[in-house]
């Protein structure tokens, strides 16, 4: 098939368009005279040289056209020419809607060719939902009934291109008739039209499914082929329903492949290739996950494969191979030389596909070669997507099949340095986790870590080397954790190298934080270090508050080595750490402070508000606010508030003067959080936020030199001695495909498959960890308590007062910190009580807090108190006029810090109301709160999709109501939306809630007579038998259950038969007839809406299962 390109190129010399159009070679039929208007337009279009000229030309043309098409004297012949000119205008991007109606007219009135052009213009101009399309229906109906076959053909063509869904019933019977027409082209086009109907309204052609079967068995190939489109769609939806047709499809394919079709179906001597593809698609769907059906196909598939001329040099072949290989890697062996050629293909797309294929055939023996190929490609690639994709694959392969430690570490080094900061953050995370968790063999782990440390040290030796941030972070973590493994090395040297990095300008402050932690860890294992002292001195005066904070932490820790060792145990990165996120151990301290007259802690934003309000000339809330602000002026809160201390980075300048006693306790939390097992995970959040877009390191980075693996070197050397290109390729092939087939002839290293899954992750949790966990929990619990001995009794007291405090509504101004401790106490006392559900919840929440604790530790001041604020309960109640209606519980939709959204559904007689409450939990008013729903196809929301609150006062609730209507029948749908508000910064919060069909169903009170009359008038019905459990007993019990859950109206029950009625809001009726018979309940729905019975039946099934 590939030589056809050349042949055609030589056959089409005239394409350059230089010759005179009027006297073209061959003088094809129906040529336009160059002097006509259309000819003029075309000539001016070819002469165009700028966009501006084009604009002028088309505007002129449109003016002319407008005049011509609306002139009554315009003949149909001229109108046809106008249509072609209009098509030109639209093709160049200039809307010409003034001509649409004339296209329809032309289709209606013209003779054959004019009519065809009219239809063509309609199909090009209008879209499926265009209102003018309705005007076409009459013409189509007329043409379908015409005695002229050409007109019938045209009508059928346009129907299969574009037709209004709601008018299908008008033409369906006519088209069905055409299925029996004597001419194949009419039958074929009728099937194509039905395919269109199947796509836009599958329900409407349900009754003619057996006619499709007839079309499939049609004596004409074209008609059969047309029916395949419908079958492909139907089988896609429900393969199991058409298994019985497998044999028919196989027979058809056999005939096609066997050359039984008329000769003019051949394409370059291949029998109907497109038909073969279509049949294979269908067989693929039928045979998927079904060996028995597949069995039927094997013969013919084999036959088609044998006859097909697979073209290896193009992506297609490779792709096919990639798919085949998933089933049977041995097949790749047959094509290895082709694949090798593709690897050196100049086209990057083909190269990428080849690598994709290699990735799939990787095993323990060929991993080094394949990864090398991937790295080569990676170095040349500039595209971000490719880098992300490939680095992920390489990391995965390296982790799975690494033959030894050195190779693994060096490969990962290459990945980090090339992948840089664009690669997926999971890669460094997984790598570190792998190092930390290790494998079953303790010695092996140590060697891997040792090798990593050594390799990083040598990398850092380089004076001016540049590495991506993520790589530096990995290095510093590994050095911090495992540098002690080097026995002969001087830790001072390592620290010096890290120190040097800190002074580099390309190192971001986030990376600096990683480096500082590494240095802190290392210094805990040394008695004293000059470099560390120097470093502390240097950064104690740094302008970067974070760095300054670290320096001080390090300084204080160095003064207390005992504590430091306890804090930073060796190789403890895998141990779980419990974090007292609410800082409950400070309760005593706080209580003491409060009792001696200190002002309660205020969150940052509150302080700022107050400051602002003080500066304002007019104070609108004179009492409340002025009182609190006078309290805060004491300055106590600023410096010694417990939350403030742990949030080092927030502090302006006085962090230097923190009392040592407090720092010790607090840093226990802060520091440990950083280095915990998940220690680097919180950082990830930072990263994704910033998303460093650093360009990957240039391809010729020094690192890459290391990654040449022994097998390849070896093979290359051999090749050199042979010095033949072909041999080289064969050699490469043997290394690439080794391990794929045990009896492969080419495979030089063809020994038995031993897949070395060396670096397989082991499951994380061991029993020892549990005990360590317990230890660390105790650790965090007791240490702070010992420094504040009188905490315990206080805690108890607070806990008892919990209920009382929790119910406080407006008096938030007292102590938020106190409340924080209370909320945590609950979990503690429950721990003592035993293991129940609540316990696991509490634990869960503490550990999940831990997971993102980074936010609390590093950036941000207000988070801790804000969590507290959200707990403040506010009273919620429905407006009086709604309270009387049935309604759902008021549930929390979403919540963040200071704002909570609650929702409640109210089911009134004529609509479903959604009442949303927006609660401001903070002590300051919220401005410009906007609530917006996303529009969905299922629901319609009245009057608008949004709701706006200019201001929500502190500690108050605003509500809004929306009437929700079901737009498209479904059993369940999700309505989502978002709320945004402004407080210091713009915040955006998303929520979603589920509506089910039953929310929109209301009883319909009718009499038995009405029921009978309506029953007969509805055409859409669904029947289903349901099993009843013994508890459901009689019909009346079952019906009552349905009545309650689905709000049906029971019209009458006679013996074992009952009838009920309901309506879908606003007023689509649905009737139900049910009958019980020997533990089955026969349900029969009828409605005027086609989708409603199905969905309602589903709801009934659910109710019956639940009750």
């Amino acid at each position: 098939m590939s030589d056809v390109v050349e042949r055609t190129l030589s056959a089409l010399p005239g394409l350059l368009g230089q010759h005179d159009p009027g006297a073209g070679p061959g003088g094809g039929p129906g040529r336009v005279s160059a002097t006509s208007r259309l000819g003029g337009l075309i000539r001016s279009i070819t002469a165009l040289s700028s966009k501006h000229e084009e604009e002028k030309l088309i505007q002129q043309e449109q003016t002319n056209l407008k005049a011509t098409v609306s002139a009554p004297t315009t003949t149909l012949r001229l109108m046809k020419e106008c249509m072609v000119r209009l098509i030109y205008c639209e093709m160049l991007g200039y809307e010409s809607s003034f001509g649409y109606i004339h296209a329809i007219k032309l289709a209606q009135q013209g003779n054959l060719l004019e009519k065809r052009v009219g239809y063509l213009a309609v199909s090009l101009f209008l879209h499926e939902n265009h209102e003018l399309l309705l005007l076409l229906v009459n013409t189509v109906v007329k043409d379908l009934q015409s005695t002229n076959l050409v007109e019938v053909c045209m009508a059928l063509t346009v129907v299969s291109q574009i037709f209004p869904r709601e008018m299908i019933p008008a033409v369906l019977p006519l088209i069905e008739d055409k299925l029996q027409h004597s001419k194949e082209i009419i039958r074929r086009k009728a099937v194509q039209a039905l395919y269109k109907f199947y796509l836009i309204a599958p329900n409407q052609v349900q009754h003619i499914h057996d006619k499709f079967r007839k079309a499939l068995c049609d004596r004409d190939v074209g008609v059969m082929a047309a029916s395949l489109h419908i079958y492909l769609q139907m089988i896609k939806k429900n393969a199991s329903g058409y298994k019985d047709l497998t044999e028919s499809f196989v027979t058809i394919l056999k005939q096609v492949v066997g050359g039984k079709l008329p000769i003019d179906f051949n394409y370059h001597s291949v029998p109907a290739p497109w038909l073969q593809i279509q049949l294979l698609r269908i067989l693929g769907l039928l045979g998927k996950d079904d060996p028995r059906t597949s069995e039927l196909m094997y013969d013919v598939l084999d036959e088609s494969l044998r006859r097909a001329e697979i073209n290896h040099n193009i992506t297609y072949g490779l792709k096919a191979l990639t798919y085949v290989i998933q089933q049977d890697p041995n097949l790749a062996l047959q094509h290895q030389m082709t694949i090798i050629e593709c690897l050196d293909h100049p086209d990057p797309i083909i190269k990428r596909e080849t690598l994709e294929l290699l990735y799939r055939i990787t095993n323990g023996q060929n991993v080094t070669v394949i990864v090398q190929k991937m790295l080569d490609y990676l170095r040349q690639s500039k595209e971000e997507y490719t880098i992300i994709n490939l680095t992920g694959k390489i990391a995965e392969l390296a982790e799975k099949y690494a033959p030894d430690n050195e190779w693994f570490i060096q490969t990962m080094n290459a990945v980090f340095s090339v992948g840089g900061d664009v690669m997926h953050p999971d890669i460094p995370n997984n790598f570190l986790r792998l190092l930390a968790e290790g494998f079953d063999d303790e010695k092996e782990d140590e060697q891997l870590r040792l090798y990593a440390v050594q390799s990083y040290l040598s990398l850092l030796e380089e004076e001016d080397a540049f590495y991506p941030q993520k790589f530096l972070q990995v290095m510093s973590w590994v050095l911090g954790e495992y540098s002690y493994l080097i026995n002969d090395g001087d830790p001072e040297v390592i620290i010096t190298r890290l120190h040097r990095l800190l002074k580099q300008t390309f190192v971001t402050s986030e990376t600096k934080a990683w480096i500082m932690t590494a240095i802190t860890k290392m210094s805990s294992r040394m008695s004293c270090s000059k470099t560390v002292d120097k470093l502390i001195q240097e950064f104690s005066t740094s302008l970067d508050t974070c760095m300054r904070q670290y320096a001080f932490e390090l300084k204080h820790l160095c003064e207390n080595k005992e504590l430091m060792k306890k804090l930073l145990p060796l190789d403890a990165s895998c141990d779980e750490i419990m974090v007292d996120a609410s800082l409950s151990f400070l309760d005593g301290f706080v209580a003491e402070g409060l009792s001696s007259g200190a002002a309660p802690y205020k969150p940052h934003h509150q302080r700022q508000e107050e400051k602002l309000s003080q500066e304002k000339a007019l104070n609108f809330e004179p009492y409340g606010l002025s009182f609190t602000s006078s309290m805060s002026s004491s300055g106590f809160t600023g410096r010694q508030s417990p939350a403030g201390l742990s949030l080092g980075s927030d502090m302006s300048g006085n962090s230097a003067e923190i009392g040592q006693k407090e720092t010790n306790c607090l840093k226990l939390d802060g520091v440990r959080k950083l280095w915990g097992k998940e220690g680097y995970l919180p950082k990830k959040e930072n990263k994704t936020g910033k998303e460093d877009k650093t360009q990957p390191v240039p391809p010729d980075s020094i690192l890459m030199g290391h990654v040449v693996d022994p097998p390849l070197m070896q093979s290359e050397q051999q090749v050199v001695s042979l010095s033949e290109e072909e041999k080289e390729k064969q050699q490469l092939a043997s290394t690439l495909f080794v391990g794929l087939g045990s009896n492969s002839a080419i495979s030089l290293m063809g020994r038995a498959d031993t897949i070395t899954q060396k670096l397989k992750k082991k499951s994380k949790i061991s029993e020892t960890q549990n005990s360590e966990e317990a230890y660390s929990f105790q650790n965090t619990a007791t240490l702070p308590f010992s420094s504040l001995p009188d905490t315990a009794p206080n805690n108890k007291e607070n806990f008892q007062g919990n209920e009382h405090l929790g119910l406080r509504k407006v008096s938030l101004s007292s102590s938020e910190v106190l409340e924080a401790s209370v909320s945590f106490d609950t979990s503690q006392s429950l721990t003592e009580a035993g293991l129940d559900e609540k316990l696991s919840n509490c634990r869960l929440s503490t550990s999940s807090l831990f997971a993102d604790s980074n936010i609390e530790v590093f950036q941000p001041p207000q988070n801790v108190p804000d969590i507290v604020a959200s707990k403040a309960p506010l009273s919620l109640c429905l407006p009086e006029e709604l309270a009387g209606h049935p309604h759902s519980e008021i549930v929390e939709l979403c919540s963040r810090d200071i704002l909570t959204v609650y929702s409640c559904k109210v089911w009134t007689d004529d609509c479903s109301l959604l009442v949303l409450f927006v609660a401001n939990n903070s002590t300051s008013p919220l401005k410009t709160v906007n609530l917006v729903f996303e529009s969905t196809e299922h629901f319609k929301i009245f009057e608008s999709l949004s709701c706006h609150f200019p201001v929500i006062e502190a500690q108050s609730i605003e509500s809004c109501q929306k009437c929700v209507q079901l737009e498209k029948v479904c059993t369940e749908g999700i309505l989502s939306g978002s709320i945004s508000y402004h407080l210091e910064t713009d915040t955006h919060l998303e929520f979603s809630l589920t509506f089910s069909l039953s929310d929109f169903i209301r009883p319909m009170k009718i009499t038995t007579e009405d029921f009978g009359r309506l029953w007969l008038s509805f055409s859409n019905d669904v029947k289903q038998n349901l099993k009843m459990s013994p508890s459901q007993g009689s019909l009346s019990i079952a019906l009552n259950a349905l009545k309650q859950k689905l709000k049906l109206h029971i019209v009458e029950i006679i013996g074992n038969e009952g009838i009920a009625a309901c309506r879908l809001l606003p007023s689509i009726p649905c009737l139900l007839h049910c009958r019980t018979h020997a533990r089955t309940l026969a349900l029969w729905f009828r409605s005027s809406c086609s989708a409603l019975p199905d969905s309602l039946l589903y709801q009934c099934q659910k109710v019956m299962e639940e009750s």
Binding site: P13, G14, I45, W274, D347, L835, A851
Partner: protein, 178 residues
Amino acid sequence: MVLDSLEDSIQMQKYSSRLPASSNKETISEPNRKMIKFFLMVNKQGQTRLSRYYEHVEIHKRTMLEAEVIKNCLSRSREQCSFIEYKDFKLVYRQYAALFIVVGINETENEMAVYELIHNFVEVLDRYFSRVSELDIMFNLDRVHIILDEMVLNGCIVETNKNRILAPLFVLDKMAES
């Protein structure tokens, strides 16, 4: 044991957050996704000579799309393969002298089938116009469209037999002559 399950549930949370938000949206729109999205003939200067869209696209977006498509095709050399992954779909193109024929397809359509379809189309044009040229296409835009409509309908390849493709048009021509 408690810790085990706790760990598991945290893991679960992590994974579940990674799952795609909802899969039911896709099934709704699925039947309407056309395997062939558009069929274009554009020359090297970027001038559109024929365009047929099987999915509705706003007119002003069409010109932008066409410009980008031709830019993509022009940037590739003859040695490179004829398939381009473009946004969420694929382009299959062939070049005949100064004219590019570009077809946009979704991931379910077979690139090779479309690649050969283009050639089949050109062969049909060649037979009808006896040695087709760019100007033939321009001066007979309506007829080229009629031919294409016989071959591709509704985003599907419906006829590939040259005799059958041309039959309706020959009839129309004969009628017009008489």
